[in-house]
Amino acid sequence: MIRIFKPTIFVLCLVPLIIIAYQILFNQLGAEPVKQITHHTGEWTLRFILLSLAMTPLKNITKILAWIKYRRMLGLFAFFYGTLHLLTYIGFDYQFNLDPIIDDVLNKKFIFIGLAAWLLMLPLAVTSNQKMVLILKQNWKKIHRLSYLIGIFAVLHFIWLSKTIFFEPLIYLIILITLLTLRLDFIKFLFKKKSVT
């Protein structure tokens, strides 16, 4: 099953890229093209972060181990779209003009925390392959706990850049809180108990 599923999911994960490429090529970006690319890539970064964070709880709830096999791929797609998002900001929005970018990072908390989220994704991306899991052993798990922090930073980024929390930032916040709560030991305990009885 995994043999068919994995490539299918991989292709599905590329759909947001295909959509934005289409919009760029056929001039479908609308009134504010750069912002459209920024928003599209930003939203998909956030969605992939939350999707990758959902795999472990899904495994625990459904008792199906296979979810874990997609965790790395989803995380790497989050990094991929996050990098496109960052490059859009640096390349298209500010045309590699560093002064306003530095100014933004220092003065706008939503940029600061977004950049922090992206930087935290770097070590996870670098250590994502199987070899690294073997080399780092227990430390690998510790490093990859950063993903919770990335999720929190990413949602904060969205809340802070929005004029009001209604509705999208709020929805993502609720999803994040749910996903993190499902990882709390006493909640996990509930699931275990259920499966025993």
Binding site: I24, N27, L29, G30, A31, E32, P33, V34, K35, I37, F92, D93, Y94, Q95, P100, D103, D104, N107, K108, K109, F110, W160, L161, K163, T164, F166, F167
Partner: protein, 305 residues
């Protein structure tokens, strides 16, 4: 605070207004039938401080809007305002006045002819358009009442109608939308009440039937679908000030030197450009400094942002 009284001699029409006809020809719009429903004076001049900035295409002016009453996404107002009923529509002018009045939009349009005004429109989010509005100076409407000596500010209230306006069913802002100006700002000849754009009747998503435009302030100051204009003694608290006083001040003049926690105010993106177009520099008072800077003489615009 000392109020600055505006004298009409302070503006220099010759240098700022171009012949409307020349403008119309250049634009290739405003022909025949589109105009008959509007009462437009042909002798009016069009305000246009720049020749190099392009007028934003109609498509973007009418599909890219911030109008939270109809939803928080830019495309929502266009989609959700189609069936919004704007007739009949009354506007009450009251508060600190000797003779409060209620006028229908039709009465107002018949009483005060609209003229073409091409203004830059700068949103606090860091984007801008150039819009050919149809409208008339607000002072022509305000002159219908006599403010008492107590009156210092003008408060604008937009319509509250959650049945027709989905966005108002949620506490996104403290509905109805409220805005305010100092009386001298409201009486300034650049401040207009808008009845249309691109030579046509004002589309619902742009604030029909009657909205404010204050071109030297960020777009949110220009309240839409106004039902009440009230002269008041105390500085009104606008909906955005109420939502986040640190981010949105009463004045909200376009000012590249006062930065907003989220958006760069030093530069702006021009709506309708392509992905390779750079941001352009934002100009103090959105380029209307010659006309309006004197309103704020002696004021610290960093404090009074």
């Amino acid at each position: 605070m000392k109020l600055h009284k505006f004298k009409s001699s302070e503006i220099t029409p010759e240098s700022l207004y171009i012949n409307r006809r020349k403008f119309l020809k250049k634009m290739g719009i405003l022909t025949g039938s589109a105009l008959t429903s509007q009462n437009i004076i042909t002798s009016a001049f069009s305000y246009t401080p720049e020749t190099e900035r392009k007028i934003t295409p109609y498509k973007f002016v009418t599909t890219y809007n911030n109008y939270y009453e109809f939803g928080t996404s830019k495309s929502d107002p266009h989609k959700n305002s189609k069936d919004f009923i704007t007739k009949p529509w009354d506007i009450k002018i009251d508060g600190e006045v000797e003779n409060e009045i209620t006028l229908s939009v039709e009465e107002i349009k018949n009483m005060i002819p609209s003229e073409e005004r091409v203004y830059r429109f700068r949103c606090v989010e860091g984007w801008s358009m150039v819009v050919p509005w149809l409208g008339f100076p607000l002072n022509k409407l305000l002159n219908k009442v006599k403010p008492t000596s107590k009156a210092k500010y003008v408060k604008f209230t937009s319509v509250y109608d959650p049945d027709q306006m989905k966005g108002q069913r949620f506490p996104v802002l403290n509905w109805p939308y409220k805005e305010g100006l100092r009386i001298d700002e409201a009486m300034h000849p650049l401040t207009i009440m808008v009845t249309g754009l691109y030579g046509k009747e004002l589309p619902n998503q742009n604030g029909a039937p009657l909205r404010l435009i204050v071109p030297w302030k960020y777009g949110f100051k220009s309240a839409k679908a106004i039902v009440n204009i009230k002269f008041v003694e105390k500085m009104p608290v606008s909906s955005w000030m109420n939502a986040s006083p640190k981010e949105y001040g009463f004045y909200s003049n376009v000012n590249p030197n006062v930065s907003h926690p989220r958006w760069s105010q030093a530069t702006e993106r021009v709506i309708g450009e392509n992905i390779y177009s750079p941001r352009i520099k934002t100009v103090m008072f959105n380029g209307y400094g010659d006309e309006v800077a004197s309103l704020y003489d002696g004021m610290d615009l960093r404090k009074n942002f």
